[in-house]
């Protein structure tokens, strides 16, 4: 079971399969990252975009001496389409965002006809490495869906459970977060949490144990939960935190990064092939971990 980012890197290296990573309109910082991943034997980068510009960048980078390909696409808007098509058609194993703006990139990836969407929705799982123990925690959905209802949350949770399994967590403990630990009909997140918890009781999430609603103090501390009268194997030992909506998920992930200084790498789930979003709050070091996670997720 992976307990640290180093374990993830090790697991990806052990696979000893170089994955073909398509990146559209790569820039200098991207080249530094993919050069390192290529040197680690994780990937063969496919640089999709203006061939001359890509060649000039490569000559100034460590990638020059490493296996790579340049796929020349003259049309500026066409490089993203071409990169997505490469992945879609199986000529690349994974996709990474380069200089494309997030909205354009996400729209291309999630396009039902020409994109890479597999499930009814995609979700972004933030994987954090705990500082005081060798344990990874997953927080979802921290980027894609605005206000998921219970139907969407079920899918989001299933996707996170799948990622947990990939990391070797076979019976994940899940906290469905809300403002309070009691079911309150005026607070929709508590109702959704109660439904998911009941579904778990009926084994609708396999081996996962889903508890909710839980406020974050109960999720984080078994003692705190006990003082509120909650007895559960989930409290104080959570593997997956399912947030109520993007208004909580996005700030939560970022507060752990910027205030908690917790290492974070993200994974887009619900797509046919791994996609690396290259979000601005993922550090340079952890972008390599994202590539390693994508390699593990290649199947």
């Amino acid at each position: 079971m992976a307990g640290t980012f180093a374990d993830i890197m090790e697991a990806a290296r052990k696979k000893a399969v170089k994955r073909r990573l398509a990146i559209s309109s790569a820039k200098k910082p991207d080249l530094e990252i993919i050069s390192r991943a290529a040197r680690d034997g994780l990937i063969v980068p496919l640089l999709v975009g203006d061939g001359k510009a890509a060649d000039a960048l490569v000559k100034k980078s460590a990638l020059q001496s490493l296996e790579h390909e340049i796929i020349d696409v003259k049309d500026a808007g066409g490089s993203l389409r071409a990169a997505v098509a490469l992945v879609r058609e199986g000529r690349a194993d994974m996709l990474m965002r380069g200089a494309d703006d997030l909205k354009t990139f996400m729209n291309a990836v999630l396009d039902v006809k020409t994109g890479l969407l597999k499930d009814k929705l995609a979700s972004y799982v933030s994987v954090f490495q705990l500082q005081k123990s060798d344990k990874l925690i997953l927080v979802t959905d921290t980027f894609v869906n605005n206000y998921p209802g219970v139907t969407e949350k079920r899918l989001i949770l299933e996707q996170a459970i799948k990622l947990a399994s990939l990391l070797g967590i076979e019976a994940p403990k899940v906290a469905v977060l809300a403002a309070i630990e009691q079911v309150n009909p005026n607070i929709p997140s508590t109702l959704d949490a109660a439904v998911l918890s009941k579904m778990s009781e009926r084994k609708q999430f396999g081996n996962a144990v889903v508890e909710g609603p839980l406020d974050i103090d109960c999720a984080l501390s078994h003692v705190a939960a006990g003082r509120k009268g909650i007895k559960s194997v989930v409290t104080g030992n959570v593997d997956i935190y399912l947030v109520p909506d993007i208004e909580s998920g996005y700030p939560l992930a970022q507060s752990l990064v910027f205030v908690g200084r917790m290492e974070m790498a993200g994974v887009l789930m619900g797509v046919t092939k791994p996609v690396i979003l290259n979000l601005p709050f993922v550090s340079r070091e952890n972008r390599i971990v994202e590539i390693a996670l994508a390699c593990m997720n290649c199947g």
Partner: protein, 306 residues
């Protein structure tokens, strides 16, 4: 300016003891906190709750409660109504929640504000002390409004700015946090942010600075920056007041003290005084700090005409 919770404790020692009603101190952690606050000279408690339970936990923590005013009541809502009623009638300066669900207290406060026709929106402000920061940061509203609309957010911010001014911050920096990303359409919280920014520029909240950011990434990296290395994070950029879009967000963020190296302390400001809102899961250290904050706020409120 009060920069830390140590400042809060020191000032509470200087300005106390203040008369404080404790609602259902029927749990050892709460009673222990009352004992320690009384010993520190911060408070003179009035204990409201179940007689047997209070005696029992008092005994367990070695606190002779026979010397204090006690009001025996078993009904949770009545306990809350009694304490809040005493605050609004001026019989005491502060109320603190004990081992009682928060919803009872908010109900009592909202009813009392209604009766007093104060027009005040009740909101909870949860402070964080972050090591090395040099100022307090607060999340609001972390307790009352489930999905506040724009007008409610205006009132929530007014309460927070008022409290920061009370604590000696001349020009608190405000951020209205949102789930808004560069993808996913425009969220209501982002529309509210734009309106609130205009309102702040027009002086609606008094002396404050409204920061042009809606996420922690924007606070720390600017609108187009990206995180290269964790060593580049400058915690000094943390604002004073963080307005949250929803109750879920506020509660989840403010209670990260169970996870991060921060200390939390929550207070509700009513038109008649401070109400300390420790969580039922809080431990005595944290509750002592919350009671001290209540004492400081009550002291400063007594000197201010709102």
């Amino acid at each position: 300016m009060i920069r830390s919770l140590d400042d809060v404790s020191r000032i509470a020692g200087e300005k106390g003891p203040k008369k404080l009603a404790v609602l259902a101190p029927e749990d050892e952690e709460f009673m222990l906190a009352v004992k320690r606050s009384w010993e520190a000279g911060h408070i003179e408690p009035v204990l409201i709750g179940n007689s047997e339970m209070m005696e029992k936990v008092g005994g367990k923590v070695g606190f002779d409660i026979s010397r204090f005013e006690r009001i025996i009541e078993n009904d949770r809502q009545k306990i809350s109504d009694l304490g809040i009623g005493m605050l609004f009638s001026g019989k005491l300066s502060i109320v603190s929640k004990g081992q009682i669900p928060t919803s009872y207290i908010y109900r009592s406060i909202i009813r009392a504000e209604g009766k007093a026709a104060s027009g005040m929106t009740v909101s909870v402000i949860s402070f964080w002390e972050i090591p090395g920061l040099g100022h307090l940061t607060a999340f609001t509203d972390t307790g009352v409004s489930i999905m506040p609309d724009y007008r409610t957010k205006v009132n929530i911010l007014r309460n927070a700015v008022f409290l920061y001014h009370l604590l000696g911050y001349e020009k608190p920096r405000i951020v209205a946090i949102s789930g808004q990303r560069k993808f996913g359409g425009t969220l209501d919280s982002y529309r509210d942010y734009k309106l609130l920014r205009k309102a702040a520029d027009a002086g609606e909240f008094g002396n404050c600075e409204f920061v042009h950011a809606t996420s922690f990434a924007e606070i720390f990296l600017g609108p187009r920056g990206r995180l290269r290395d964790y060593r580049d994070i400058d915690i000094a950029k943390m604002p004073h007041i963080i307005l949250v879009p929803r109750l879920d967000t506020g509660n989840i963020l403010c209670k990260l003290d169970f996870f991060l190296d921060v200390t939390r302390c929550s207070v509700a400001v009513t038109s008649r005084g401070a109400v300390c809102i420790p969580s039922r899961s809080d431990f005595s250290d944290s509750i002592v700090t919350e009671l001290a904050m209540g004492v400081v706020v009550a002291d400063r409120l007594e000197k201010e005409v709102r």
